[in-house]
Amino acid sequence: MSTAMNFSTKTFKPRPPDKGSFPLDHFGECKDFKDQFMRCLRENHFDSGACRQDSKAYLECRMERQLMAKEPLEKLGFKDLGAQKSPGPHETTAP
């Protein structure tokens, strides 16, 4: 991996994340959102595109509890999901 003896070949240069590091969720405040997201992933055979509402909900939870810098969700690639707050893990969208 990174300890391979490659003298003249290109080495992998890890890049820092664009928006920095997530603070750790020591108190599990967003654990429910995470569980809902993981459940959605398992139901949809790990298709990320099907679970974007839940990932949006998780990021919103983090933003509310000061575990992530607040940012408009369009800038995080959720433009097509609309600006409304997604329903939480125990709420269901009205039909």
Binding site: S21, D25, L41, Y58, L59, K75, G77, F78
Partner: protein
């Protein structure tokens, strides 16, 4: 312009004679040779008192007024010599300028190459233009589904239980995706860890952009604490247009946690 032709070499002097066809040739010598006498005078050439004499029978004709010649200072070729010297100086100046130019170019090549790498993205360097505007406006390439597998490693001296919460996830380029790792500190002492990551295959690493993750910063876990660690990333839509990536269907993201010791400074890329 008179051109001077070398006629002969005497012991230490060179005789020049002009080809100007004038009956009165200007010769320039202190000594004469036999060859010169045949050429300019069918009699005998003699030099004396800085003058050339042509002796035919009893007549003595003064060919011309001859000036004494110092070695290397021929006033008839002085103009030519000056021209040559000027030409030499010009050529030398051009060569010196080219040399200085080459040295300057070798210094300028370093930032120029870096700019070129950023513009073309060769060698896996970061492609310029990773801004939030790009994330906002990028369009997902829905027909190219990629499998991202997750791997978690821990350094031998770190006693955490670190593992991914999903073994794989199917994403498309241009769409942001979320994934989770879980870490547990089973010891009864707080431990600080720091992680780095790796992407396989190597060329896909330039298209893998992490918006936010948990790497490169010290993460502290209290005794018997378990936390979820998210990774929020996307794959650049230009992945689909790169011919080298045409056969790539699986990307593996591998995180490794190390123990952060006090006073041990890691060289973190891009972090102060």
């Amino acid at each position: 312009m008179m051109l001077w032709k070398k006629l002969s070499y005497l012991s230490s002097w060179t005789v020049y004679i002009s080809n100007s066809r004038l009956p009165f040739l200007s010769a320039y010598c202190q000594y004469c040779t036999r060859g010169l006498s045949y050429l300019v005078c069918s009699g005998t050439l003699r030099a004396s008192n800085n003058q050339l004499f042509c002796q035919r029978k009893s007549l003595q004709h003064v060919l011309s007024r001859v000036q004494g010649m110092k070695r290397g200072h021929n006033p008839f070729t002085k103009h030519q010599k000056e021209e040559w010297q000027k030409r030499n100086k010009t050529v030398l100046t051009y060569i010196a300028a080219a040399g200085v130019g080459m040295i300057g170019l070798s210094y300028a090549a370093v930032p120029l190459y870096r700019l070129y790498c950023q513009a073309t993205g060769l060698g896996g360097t970061a492609v310029a233009g990773h801004s939030s505007d790009q994330i906002e406006n990028m369009q997902p390439v829905k027909d190219r589904v990629l499998k991202v597998t997750f791997n978690a490693d821990v350094h031998a001296s770190l006693q955490w239980n670190f593992r991914p919460q999903q073994s794989e996830i199917y994403v498309v380029p241009g769409e942001t995706a979320l994934a989770f790792y879980k870490a547990k500190n089973p010891t009864n002492k707080p431990v600080i860890g720091i992680s780095t990551y790796n992407i396989v295959p190597f060329e896909a690493g330039q298209y893998f952009n992490k918006i936010q993750c948990f790497c490169f910063e010290e993460q502290r876990l209290n005794p018997n604490e378990e936390v979820d660690m998210p990774v929020f990333f996307y794959i650049d839509p230009e992945f689909d247009t790169d011919p080298r990536m045409a056969n790539v269907d699986t990307i593996t993201l591998s995180y490794t946690f190390f123990e952060a010791k006090d006073g041990h400074k890691l060289s973190l890329p891009g972090y102060s």
